[in-house]
Symmetry: C2
Subunit: 284 residues, 2 copies
């Protein structure tokens, strides 16, 4: 059965879900996106994704084609129409179609696209029991990673490089310090302290990151927001990543070095439990 | 009258020229492009653009959906159908449509799109007589600018920043040295020597750059391929940029500093003449 996809106000079968070849999302990567998880048919951290979407659009002087309330309704409609119990809702807004020119069009009509991906058992991913093995790669992305743009070619390339080395994913490194994972924020734990890079232009301001750090502090865990080196990471007691679709995911190996006993650490496991429990409670 | 656009083997009216919302060009900026100028109905430097397209695709492990000969035919068909005397042919190849995943699809079918833009009097742009005034901005692009990908958001932002300052364009600067313009290679001339950044991952390997440097050497001009600073540029006798659509375009001001007497310099003017003459002769 074909999915229903939302494109500029219309609900279409996925085969008919298209955008103009003149769309600036296609020609210039002039677009931003969000991914919201669905658990038990409900949206996880929706207000956070909505707020970040608005921030990304503002940073790029791009118009928002939809109100937060209408956006919630479209999310819910797609979840219902596509019968999503566990999965994702992907949202993309671009500056719209215009004859090709580096300069922004004078009066653009933004393009908005939403689709769903069914991911049965999303919260029971066996990788969470096993833990990920990651490799490090140079961070070659542009300088404004805090804006969630569709310029995702390098993270894709890094993910493929990790796969080629038999790893699950990659962490990106700049000036000897880890920035983040290809599609997630990166953390290490040493002596009971959780360390993750501070916010800035260098990393995405993860919605899951914000929630997990709040839960960690509420649970009296010590959190340090600062950059850490690859050497520090290899010497850590445990490590993990967070993202909207992986929640909290333990990391058990870095560049071939096994962390601890090679199984997910207690901090990552505990934070995953808390995050899933609390975010299910707050789901919309 | 609607333009004819080429999409995956079909010639379509531009209103019907669309790609799937699942196209990786739209979702991940996982695509590359070329722009070929048309003068008097003929293609300028076509073999160079073809070679660079193949290089970009190879660098990204992306399949080429079309032979060089067929690509030439599509270019010519579009020029004829759209009645282009002077203008551009834009070509984009992406990894194709697939359900969204950072990892490349196993067996992707590349997407290929070509369209034209009419630019009457392209070679007689009055800006060439006046010269451009540019401003410098930090180079915030990704690390592989030698691959001609559609990750063009930052060059777009830089062009808009230049406009906001009343300038014509921007040069991008990294570690105090100029990399290149937003959509062109950058040159200065001092004491008769032409200086332009050496090839590497930091800049696009301009097809027009290669031709212009060859013509300059043939004309016994001295060429140094090395990075230069903004200070050097401001103290230069003259400056210019090259690109497929601007050919050789003089620069007469940098960050508010006027070069020479504020009019296009003799080296830039001479190289523009030679380039236009020679490339018209070799046009296909």
């Amino acid at each position: 059965m074909s999915r229903t996809v939302y494109v500029n106000g219309r609900y279409l079968p996925e085969e008919e879900a298209t955008v103009s070849v003149f769309d600036r999302g296609f020609l210039f990567a002039d677009g931003v996106y969000e991914v919201t998880s669905v658990l038990d048919g409900k949206l996880i951290d929706f207000p956070g994704h909505c707020a970040r979407l608005n921030r990304s659009l503002t940073e790029l002087d791009m118009a928002n084609p939809i109100s937060d309330d209408d956006l919630l309704e479209v999310h819910r409609n797609l979840v219902r129409r596509n019968g999503i119990t566990d999965g994702l809702v992907y949202l993309q807004v671009t500056r719209g179609a215009a004859d090709r020119d580096f300069a922004y069009p004078d009066d653009p009509e933004p393009t908005i696209v939403l689709f769903t991906q069914a991911k049965p058992g999303l919260a029971d991913n066996p990788a969470a029991d096993r833990g990920l093995r990651i490799v490090t790669v140079p961070d070659q992305r542009w300088g404004r990673r805090d804006i969630k743009t569709v310029q995702l070619l390098y993270p894709s390339m890094a993910k493929m490089a990790a796969k080629a080395e038999g790893a699950d994913d990659a962490w990106m490194v700049e000036d000897d310090h880890v920035t983040e994972g290809t599609s997630n924020n990166a953390y290490i734990v040493k002596g009971g302290t959780i360390v993750t890079r501070q916010l800035g232009h260098e990393i995405l301001h993860g919605i899951t990151r914000a929630a997990v750090l709040r839960f960690a502090r509420e649970a009296q865990m010590k959190v340090e927001e600062r950059a850490f080196t690859v050497e520090e990471a290899k010497a850590a007691d445990e490590a993990f990543v967070t993202s909207a679709s992986a929640f909290v995911m333990p990391v058990v190996g870095i560049d071939g070095v096994t962390l601890g006993d090679g199984t997910p650490g207690p901090v990552a496991r505990r934070l995953r439990e808390i995050y899933l429990e609390e975010s299910r409670k707050a789901a919309l």
